[in-house]
Amino acid sequence: MGNGFEHTALAVFTTLAPLGAATFVVLAAAFWKGDLTEDMARRLDKATALPVALVLVGFVAAFFHLAAPQNAVGVFAGVGCSPLSNEVLAGIVFVAIMLIYWVSALAGKLEARSGVRHGLLAVISVLAVVFAVFCGFAYLTPTIPTWNNPLSVIQLVGYSLLGGAVCGALACAIARIDLFGVLGVITCCMGSAGLVVGAVSFGGFIAACGGVHNSWGCALDAVPNIWLSFAAFVAAGLVGTGVLFAARKRSNMTVALTVALVLVIVGVFIARIGFYGLYAGLAL
């Protein structure tokens, strides 16, 4: 049994990659709104480096989790059978489309109001949610009774929506695009929904772990301060959504949104470490 920190690389991956991916939902909303000039679009494309970097750092962390990363290409052999292979495939497809979109946008191939851009962003947004879901599916293993819970999947969706909303708002702020009006409403709704879904699913997951016992005792014994992890996530999420609501009415919120994003990342990371700490096998 461990305390979760033995899975730090995976915690970094499941914190950053789905969060960066969900940021594209906000970017899609910004473009779909239809009032971005070409100059604003160019600035937002440059700011898209932020979620792209978060996704890639997450994948690098996952890569370093492997004892033999040079064999990583073999992971596709298990597609359809192994949940891990399915997760990696969903992630790779997302990253490929994301990079095609971003490079095309930076190269000036995508006009702000072009149907291609809007279509690509729609596909990327759907793939972002699919990726978060498949990240969660990887933990549904019958021989790990604590993780084998639908809440393992829902947690990741909640975290990605919360973090994606804050990260998306920050990208807009960096690009000097205000969150007034519909875009602000969408961002606040996404962040709030992410916080509620993340908190309810993580809290429910912890409560369910209280009923899991094996030869080592109750699963909760491995992380006695798990409710502090829950409180840290909720506190970080409240700050994050609070700043989102403030950004609906004020410009120049880059610093506040940066602090909010860092807090949300730390909060989600703490929750992920707690999740891994609650690993409990069927018996041993």
């Binding site: 989790h65 492997l66 033999a68 790990i144 069927l282 041993l284």
Partner: protein, 204 residues
Amino acid sequence: MTQYGFYYDATRCTGCHTCEAACRDYHGLSLKMAFRRVYEVEGGLWSQASDGTWITDSYAYYTSISCQHCDNPACTQVCPTGAMHKGENGIVSVEEKRCIGCGYCALACPYKAPRVDREVGHSVKCDGCASRMAAGELPICVEACSMRCIEFGSIDELPRGTRAAVAPLPDPSVTQPNLYINECAAAQPFGSLDCRIANAAEVD
């Protein structure tokens, strides 16, 4: 297909750990790594009778396990590369060049048989001493056991005990382990919460 497996006579085991030490020595494992582990399970209480005397129902027993080379192994089902596989003789082993060392097998196995050895860069586990089997010899743990508690062979030819249904092991119906146990009198059923593992530092 011939299915190889282990038989363990818990009525004879003294918990000497010679099987574990011989395995570690033969495979050149570090002290942090073990393909075979001996679990010490204990339970019971001392209680005072009305006449002032003390009585006890305390007990302790040992369970020596390695990989059970299950009929329905959890490790092979989650392995993303197919490196963890079940061979023609039913032995579950790691194809080292395909393993990425993700540790999914170690997490999924309810017996904690596979472990990731980052120094060698892949998962490692009991393979029934494949090189010894190829030479017609028994696994080193079987030969080392001074009490002759452990037997290995075709599952159809081994003595029949109970299919690994004692604490601290999991419900055998989950992975259908090829480990049969002659249970000792103190043995507790799988899933029992009345006993505990007494040597956690040795086996965790």
